[in-house]
């Protein structure tokens, strides 16, 4: 009886130390790969290539998703606000929802699924085929060569994608509200301009999306680098990337909102 209890306690302790070790390895990876320089460090063109594969190729999903989210917000908001006779506030509602919350968060979730998983699989496969070890043999630092440009590509791409998501969403909302539901054009944009603040809403949304970009790409490259170098291990690491970074984004979103809006 006691032995069984101790076994369970040991299992809890093991998972606890494993989690702490993983955090430690992740932090070391971030420390080793955040800055440029060193033998065989990646150049500017590597960064460009990564921005292309991480950012540019995520563009279509982000823009289409943003447009539909904006249209749905316009439609749903209209049906709620019409009951109070305040459908003129629709532009305010759509733009604040997108800028403060949905833009950064939905973009980060899509980004984790579209780009994060690809990063993990790519790096995991590099590890499985011993390309990373080969680099070390040649005296090239795989952190600087492989991880650094991918990390920075994610950090740079995420805020741009989130901004595009919000922009397209606001225009999608305008399309539904003004062109389909017949809300006055001036009311939609005028009320929006009156209540959206550049620093309070736009800049804080950008800060959020940069934070999400760091978290999602960091988790993605770490999962790839730390994966078990088998086909099963890479599959598991890819799933882990999407699950962990989605949860991290949602959790971090609450913390950042609480800090920036205050009140907690």
């Amino acid at each position: 009886m006691l032995g069984k209890l101790l076994d369970q306690l040991q299992a809890v302790g093991r998972s606890g130390t494993a989690a702490i070790e993983a955090i430690g390895r992740g932090t070391l990876l971030l420390k080793n790969s955040l800055f440029w320089g060193g033998p065989g460090s990646a150049g500017f063109y590597d960064l460009l290539k990564q921005i292309y594969s991480v950012g540019v190729r995520s563009l279509i999903i982000i823009v289409v998703a943003g447009f539909f989210v904006g249209m749905v917000l316009g439609l749903q908001g209209y049906n709620i606000l019409i009951d109070f006779g305040s459908e003129a506030a629709l532009g305010t509602m759509v733009s604040l929802t997108l800028l403060r919350e949905l833009g950064p968060v939905v973009t980060a979730l899509l980004f984790a699924g579209r780009a994060g998983s690809a990063l993990t699989a790519e790096i995991g496969l590099m590890k499985a085929t011993e390309q990373l070890s080969a680099m070390e043999m040649m005296g090239v630092d795989p952190f600087k060569r492989v991880i650094t440009p991918r990390l920075w590509a994610g950090i740079i791409s995420m805020p741009i994608l989130a901004l595009l998501f919000s922009t397209v969403g606001i225009w999608g909302g305008a399309f539904v509200a003004v062109d389909m539901l017949g809300i006055d054009d001036g009311a939609y944009w005028g009320n929006m301009q009156a209540s959206v603040e550049f620093y309070e809403d736009v800049v804080k949304g950008i800060i959020k999306s940069v934070a999400f970009g760091v978290v999602v790409t960091w988790i993605a490259v770490y999962q790839g680098y730390d994966s078990v170098p088998t086909s099963e291990g890479i599959g598991k690491a890819t799933t882990q990337t999407v699950v962990i970074s989605s949860l991290a984004v949602l959790g971090l979103d609450f913390v950042l909102t609480a800090v920036m809006l205050g009140g907690v």
């Binding site: 460009l48 290539k49 595009l164 301009q193």
Partner: protein, 153 residues
């Protein structure tokens, strides 16, 4: 050739990001370039703010000319003090300007409405607005109405 394609698309991606930021700044948040910096601060004492908060608008004839920067309670007078910054382009507010706390619409946000007076001297940085009118608190209004009714009946 491949590199050229990547460079062009990444360049377009970055430009799109900047265009989105500019659209956000000017079209969505209505930012204008000249209102930064050029402001002066005046103060006013109110009996009851009724929900007026920092960053609320200060307007004259419905046009926004400034913002509330600070709200605090004066422990000596037991009354609320509001500091507001007014755009330098509206530097000709007379000394006897009056301030009232108004509500945008029936349930909307609170803001300060200024009405200009007739004196020759103008308000300077740090000056007080003497003539103020507190926020309309619905409960007090109803209470007074009921009290009057009771006295009549």
């Amino acid at each position: 050739m491949r590199m050229r394609y990547i460079e062009i698309t990444v360049g377009a991606f970055m430009v799109m990001g900047i265009v989105a930021l500019v659209l956000m700044a000017f079209r969505v948040s209505g930012l204008s370039l000249q209102d930064a910096g050029d402001t002066y601060t005046i103060k006013a004492r109110f009996e009851n703010l009724g929900g007026l908060t920092e960053r609320a608008k200060v307007s004259m004839s419905g046009v926004t000319i400034g913002r509330v920067t600070k709200v605090y309670l004066d422990p000596e007078w037991y009354s609320a003090v509001v500091e507001m910054e007014i755009s330098k382009s509206m530097s000709t507010l007379t000394k006897d300007t009056s301030a009232a706390i108004l509500t945008a619409g029936l349930l909307g946000e609170k803001y300060i409405g200024l009405t200009v007076g007739a004196e020759d001297e103008y308000l300077q940085t740090g000056d007080w607005i003497e003539d103020t009118q507190s926020a309309l608190v619905l409960e007090e209004l109803i209470g007074r109405f009921l009290f009057n009714k009771a006295e009549e009946g």
